[in-house]
């Protein structure tokens, strides 16, 4: 009986991480999809070429976010590193961060017609602990571009 209790206590943080982490991730993806539908009419173009229309207003907009992975997935990714191949858990994290950053950028310019010269940058801001082990493996994503509004008198 004691062994069982000890095991449960030992695995409790991991179990909480799995359950809470996956619920949070699912909710986050749901809200991302909802907001992406809201901004479906605001295109985000990585080139400088724009339609030949007079532009009334242009301004710099940016959005950023810091995301990290849950404890259990980080452990899985560590295992994955031994054999190599696709690391799905990290793919999910990066996807979440990018889409969230884009949405935050779009939320700052609701009246605009388009965002041009869109750029995105990702950087790791991890802290290395004892023995080179990564204590906090998180990434920062920043998305920025120029929001333009066409003049209406046409």
């Amino acid at each position: 009986m004691d062994i069982v209790i000890n095991l449960v206590v030992a695995f409790l943080p991991i179990l909480t991480a799995i359950i809470v982490g996956s619920i949070l991730e699912r909710n986050h993806f749901k809200s991302i999809r909802e907001r992406e539908n809201m901004f479906i009419n605001l295109p985000c173009i990585p080139s400088k070429n724009i339609e030949d229309k007079p532009i009334m207003h242009s301004e710099l907009v940016y959005g950023s976010t810091v995301v990290s992975l849950d404890y259990f997935k980080r452990f899985l990714a560590g295992l994955r590193n031994i054999v190599g191949g696709r690391v799905r858990s990290y793919e999910g994290m990066v996807d979440r961060g990018r889409r969230e950053a884009i949405l935050r950028m779009k939320a700052k310019c609701k009246g605009a017609n388009a965002i041009i010269n869109f750029r995105m940058e990702t950087s790791t801001i991890s802290k290395t602990g004892r023995g080179g082990a990564r204590k906090i493996g998180c990434i920062e994503v920043i998305a920025y571009g120029t929001a333009i509004t066409y003049s209406k008198d046409e």
């Binding site: 991480a17 991730e25 710099l60 849950d70 041009i116 991890s126 920062e140 920025y144 571009g145």
Partner: protein, 107 residues
């Protein structure tokens, strides 16, 4: 001050060019925030404390860039780029740079 990251200000004409202006800031993480972030790190997801910290620092870097441009007498900055790098353990450098110019039609 007009800020864009394309190489002109649409609808305006560039009359003078002042060269590169930049602003940077190095921020270390707060101990309290660090503890909160490590707790949040167990379940994963967004680390709000860090997002806020980096946003504040980026605004500071932009403010420095803008004041540098104002000193030169510019009224717009074009071609703005951002970059982030971790310079030391637990500290991040945020850097913003662009080209300061003077345009017509803005006082």
């Amino acid at each position: 001050m007009i800020l864009t990251n394309i190489d002109s200000v649409p609808g305006k004409e560039i009359v003078e060019h002042y060269g590169l202006v930049s602003g940077s800031t190095v921020r270390a993480k707060h101990v309290g925030r660090d503890i909160m972030a490590s707790l949040k790190n167990i379940v994963g997801g967004e680390l709000k404390g860090y997002t806020e910290l980096l946003n504040d620092s980026r605004q500071e870097a932009m403010k420095r860039m803008i004041s540098q441009a104002e000193e030169l007498g510019a009224n717009a900055i074009i071609n703005i780029r951002f970059s982030t790098s971790s310079v030391a353990q637990g500290a991040a450098e945020l850097y913003a740079y662009g080209t300061a110019i003077k345009i017509t039609g803005v006082e």
